[in-house]
């Protein structure tokens, strides 16, 4: 066999391999191998998802599917961009977008939580949570805020007696007995001629001296003033208007309600009885007492 024939024979034998046809999906296989591998966290999440989907009930399954679709949308929107579109630098920088999205989300959640907490504090202050009828927990709200307890106490005092807007409800404030001048405390910025009886509540706020009222002596010292005022209004017949008359009535009510010892912080041993005959039971509400006296008068 000559050298040329040997080469031709060998070449023809080798070109029998031209009948070999590789599979058509070679390029797809290469591209699949060129794509970056899935992160381990993603693989674990998919495994957990499959396990939860197989074990959970139908409702949980639908919820998880919905959650997965939302997460997928979020990942498509905020996830890192394709690695094939950039080099190593862009591969590193591609995580800036998801990091920024995560940071914004955390900031929004934190801000929302802070605003919600602040709004809760503004709407429902800490002192308004007390439901004690005597305002045991309402000591911090001296202006009669929007709380129910204070409003009720003030409505019984302040609405009837207009000068009692500064009354600290339930603080067991009794006018300090001034034996020399029982009505000396009645001039706390009030006009003596118009509302002389409104002073006790004013004096109660002016000099809040909480004392345990074991004895009804304050009532004894202040009630005559009211009686004098009431008597001075009524029999004179100087033509007082209805407003003045109602003011006089309210003065009586205010005095009664203010003089009444508070039951809870300053528990009285025995019920007090004022000059007008109204029994001031410790558990009775000032408003009840006041209206009861109003009906009686």
């Amino acid at each position: 066999m000559s050298t040329v024939n040997e080469r031709d024979v060998l070449r023809r034998a080798l070109h029998l391999a031209d009948g070999i046809q590789p599979r058509a999906d070679g390029l797809q296989l290469i591209q699949a191998r060129l794509s970056p591998p899935r992160p381990v966290a993603v693989a674990w999440a998919e495994a957990a998802w499959t396990d939860a989907r197989m074990r959970g009930p139908a409702e949980l399954r639908r919820f998880l599917e919905w959650l997965l679709s939302v997460a997928r949308l979020a990942w498509d929107r905020f996830g890192p961009q394709s690695v094939a579109s950039g080099g190593r630098t862009s591969r590193t920088l591609s995580w800036l977008r998801p990091a920024a999205a995560l940071g914004v989300t955390v900031f929004i959640v934190a801000a929302g939580a802070y605003v919600a907490f602040s709004a809760q504090q503004a709407i429902f202050p800490a002192g308004s949570n007390s439901t004690h009828p005597t305002g045991g927990g309402g000591g911090g709200n001296t202006h009669g805020g929007a709380s129910g307890t204070n409003t009720r106490s003030q409505s019984s005092v302040g609405s009837v007696g207009s000068a009692g807007s500064k009354t600290k409800p339930g603080s067991c404030v009794t006018p300090k007995p001034s034996r020399g001048a029982p009505s000396a405390s009645t001039s706390s910025g009030q006009t003596p001629g118009t509302s002389p009886a409104a002073s006790p509540s004013g004096s109660s706020s002016a000099s809040p001296t909480p004392t345990v009222s074991d004895s009804p002596s304050p009532g004894a010292s202040t009630t005559p003033t009211a009686g004098v005022a009431n008597a001075a209004m009524a029999p004179t017949g100087a033509g007082p208007t209805e407003a003045v008359a109602s003011l006089a009535k309210s003065a009586v009510l205010t005095r009664i309600s203010v003089v009444r010892p508070s039951p809870t912080p300053c528990a009285t041993k025995k019920p007090a009885r004022n000059q007008l005959g109204a029994t001031l039971h410790p558990s009775a509400h000032p408003a009840v007492i006041g209206f009861g006296k109003l009906n009686g008068s």
Partner: protein, 195 residues
């Protein structure tokens, strides 16, 4: 490129991969995108011939495809070091030859230690391989040492020059000549003995 083409056209790169490399040099196209395009282009033009070349070396079409796919993946990773399509094709051939050697080496170890199993039924896909195996020349080629067989396959199937064979086999031109001459002598001896 022909001589009738205008000079401005001749000055431009005519191959797709060369165009992409030129774009990379200008900084207009990302490198990974160029590598993807080069893989696609080289796959369309040289994938089948490389698979057949690997099949001649490893005697298995499936393994030959895996070898060539591995070579493409390696070329994609090494694309920054490659400048043009010729170097990429040379890189592919060299990678195919080296990986075929690795396959044969691994197969030798496996066949030495693994128990023998019954051969499977040849499928239609293996028809070409079976036809190839029935050839006396190919059977004689199997008896040659690996380097001599590689030299003959690259020389008479891939029609490569001595320089290209030397580059693909990572040997010198003189070694290529020596391997080719000894392989032809051994093949002649085997065929005369069998005849």
């Amino acid at each position: 490129m022909t001589a009738s083409e205008p000079p401005d056209v001749a000055a431009r790169p005519i191959h797709v991969t060369e165009t992409l490399v030129a774009d990379v040099a200008l900084g207009s196209v990302p490198a990974d995108s160029v590598a993807d395009e080069a893989v696609t282009e080289l796959y369309a033009t040289h994938y089948r011939s490389l698979v057949r070349l690997a099949a001649l070396l490893v005697r298995d079409t499936g393994i030959a495809e895996e070898v060539v796919q591995d070579s493409f993946v390696a070329m994609h990773g090494a694309w920054r070091r490659l400048r043009d399509s010729e170097k990429a094709l040379s890189y592919l051939r060299q990678s195919v030859v080296n990986r075929s050697r690795s396959v044969l080496r691994h197969r030798t170890v496996v066949e030495r230690n693994a128990p023998k199993t019954a051969p499977d039924e040849p499928s239609a896909e293996h028809g070409a391989i079976a036809l190839l195996e029935r050839s006396a020349v190919i059977a004689a080629l199997r008896t040659l040492p690996p380097r001599q067989r590689e030299a003959l396959v690259l020389r008479f199937y891939a029609d490569m020059s001595e320089a290209q064979i030397a580059d693909a086999m990572c040997i010198s031109k003189g070694a290529v000549k020596s391997h080719t001459a000894r392989a032809m002598q051994a093949l002649r001896t085997v065929l005369e003995r069998d005849a």
